[in-house]
Structure formats: structure tokens, C-alpha cells
């Protein structure tokens, strides 16, 4: 490789990216055996719900309010969108509980935890702007209730829930982009640092590596195939 190429910003970015996340970490052959537990399934369940949300939301945006209010298929996609949001929050909260109680920020995973927490916080206004973008009495009620709360904390001047155009822009563009970027960063960080092990297993690994004679030798975490 010539010196000119080595100074290229694309080369630097590529080398940094591959060093941070080599292909075998980005797309691993398998996961540790401790991942074979239902409590580890709620992160991917959240992502599955998010895919349904974005797909149904894209269809709703393409067809418009008259379609989702006055046609049967529009009602159907409106319901799909709303119930996918319910499932998204349901799975995300159970995921959060599970990760909180296993202290998932251990082992250099602070940024994994922080990106997950921020995703939850950004998802809340994403849902709120969706409720006030419905263009019905429900949206009017929610927006007039929410404006008092937002005004009381001083953000109503630049985040006006009674301004439909602003709320719709937030809901279909700005906040979904933020959620997708945060979720992508979260998943890439999980790939980089690995899924957090259960606390008991990690303690055993630490004691084994410390060479405690009384402890039976603990093998490194076995992996299972990605498709199993």
C-alpha cells in the first residue's frame, strides 16, 4: 500500500472500524451457551417490533390520514403500528429489567448500557408524537393535556404538541432516525463487547483465572451455533 493511500481518511476509518469490530465479532459463528435463556430474548424481540413499527409506519405515511381513518385496510395497518409500539415498549422494558438486575454495564459495557437507556428515553417522545399525529379527538385530547406539562417545564416554545406539522415531522423523520441510529449503535457495541454473562458465571471465571486451588477448573464459555 502506498503512502498516499495510507494517509487517506477512508483507509484510516476502515482500519479503525475493523480494529474496533473485526468481522468475526460483527457476525460471530455463535453465542455463549448462557445466552440460551428466555431473558436474553427481549432485546431481539424489541428489534423485531421496531422493524414492524417502521414498516407499518412507512405504509401509513405513504397512504395518509384519510386512508388510516376511513378504510378497513387503513384501520388494520394503524392497529398493526399501534400494537407493534405496545410490544416494542413491553419487550424493551423487560429487556431493561433483565439487564439492570444482571448489571449489564459490567466488563467495559458502560456505553452499551447508556445507548440502551437513551434509546428508551428517545422512544418515549417518539411514541408521544405518534399519538398526537393521529388527527382525531384522541390526538387533540392528548396534545392539549401534554402541552400543559411541557409548558410547565419550559420546553413548549420549541416543542409544541399542538403544532401538527412539527409533531408529524418529529414522528416520521427526526425521532425514528434517532431511534434507529441509537439501536444500531447499541447492537454494534453488544457485538464488540459480547453479551454480558450472568453474574455467577463471571465470578467463577474470575476466581478460576485467579488460580484458586479449591475451585474446580472452569472452561471458557462454550458457544452455540448462531442458528441454534
Amino acid at each position: 500500500m502506498s503512502g498516499a493511500h495510507e494517509s487517506s481518511w477512508t483507509v484510516k476509518v476502515r482500519e479503525k472500524a475493523v480494529a474496533a469490530l473485526p468481522p468475526e465479532k460483527l457476525l460471530p459463528d455463535g453465542q455463549p451457551t448462557y445466552v440460551a435463556s428466555w431473558i436474553y430474548m427481549f432485546g431481539v424481540a424489541s428489534i423485531a417490533a421496531l422493524v414492524v413499527i417502521i414498516t407499518s409506519g412507512t405504509i401509513l405515511a405513504l397512504k395518509g390520514p384519510a386512508w388510516w381513518h376511513y378504510t378497513g385496510i387503513g384501520h388494520f395497518f394503524n392497529s398493526i403500528h399501534m400494537w407493534a409500539v405496545e410490544l416494542f415498549f413491553f419487550a424493551m422494558v423487560v429487556h431493561l429489567w433483565g439487564k439492570y438486575w444482571m448489571a449489564a454495564w459490567r466488563g467495559g459495557r458502560t456505553r452499551v448500557w447508556i445507548t440502551g437507556a437513551i434509546t428508551f428515553l428517545v422512544a418515549v417522545p417518539t411514541a408521544l408524537t405518534g399519538y398526537v399525529s393521529q388527527q382525531n379527538f384522541d390526538a387533540q385530547w392528548i396534545s392539549t393535556q401534554a402541552k400543559d406539562g411541557l409548558n410547565s417545564v419550559g420546553v413548549g416554545a420549541f416543542f409544541n404538541v399542538t403544532n401538527f406539522g412539527q409533531m408529524y415531522s418529529y414522528h416520521v423523520l427526526l425521532l425514528p432516525i434517532a431511534v434507529v441510529v441509537l439501536v444500531s449503535a447499541h447492537v454494534l457495541l453488544v457485538r464488540r463487547h459480547g453479551v454480558v454473562p450472568p453474574i455467577e458465571l463471571k465470578a467463577r471465571l474470575v476466581s478460576a483465572s485467579a488460580g484458586e486451588a479449591q475451585a474446580p477448573p472452569t472452561p471458557p464459555p462454550a458457544t452455540v451455533g448462531a442458528g441454534s
Binding site: A36, W38, I39, M41, G72, E86, F90, G98, A222, V224
Partner: protein, 69 residues
């Protein structure tokens, strides 16, 4: 549009023609629907902790026995 027959059937199962039920205990005031969702999240959380994952026992046994997982 909803089919009238379907509306009648669903209306018979879920009568929503009333003010929302609210659970009120001291300063805590929650719609019953939200309470049910929170309770179901707790139930699902407990199930996820205690119900064995399909194949997990077989993999653990294979690992203890030194065989391929």
C-alpha cells in the same frame, strides 16, 4: 370500516362504553389497563427467568460431558 357483526361480538366481550377504571391507592393513580400491562410484564419477566430455554439443558449437559454443544 368495521363489520357490524364483528363490532357487536367484540362489544359483547369488551364493554368499553363507560369511564375508564382507575386503580387509586394513596398518591398512586393508574388506569386499570396500565396496571394490567405492568402486571403482565412482571409475569413475563418471571417466566423468562424460570422457564428453561429449549435445548439449554442438552447443551449444558454436553458441555459438562466434554462433548460438542
Amino acid at each position: 370500516m368495521s363489520h357490524p357483526a364483528m363490532t357487536a361480538v367484540m362489544g359483547a366481550v369488551f364493554n368499553l362504553n363507560h369511564p375508564a377504571h382507575v386503580v387509586h391507592w394513596h398518591f398512586i393513580k393508574l388506569p386499570l389497563a396500565n396496571v394490567l400491562v405492568i402486571a403482565s410484564m412482571l409475569v413475563v419477566f418471571a417466566i423468562a427467568l424460570f422457564v428453561p430455554f429449549p435445548g439449554a439443558a442438552r447443551r449444558a449437559a454436553a458441555r459438562r460431558g466434554g462433548g460438542a454443544p
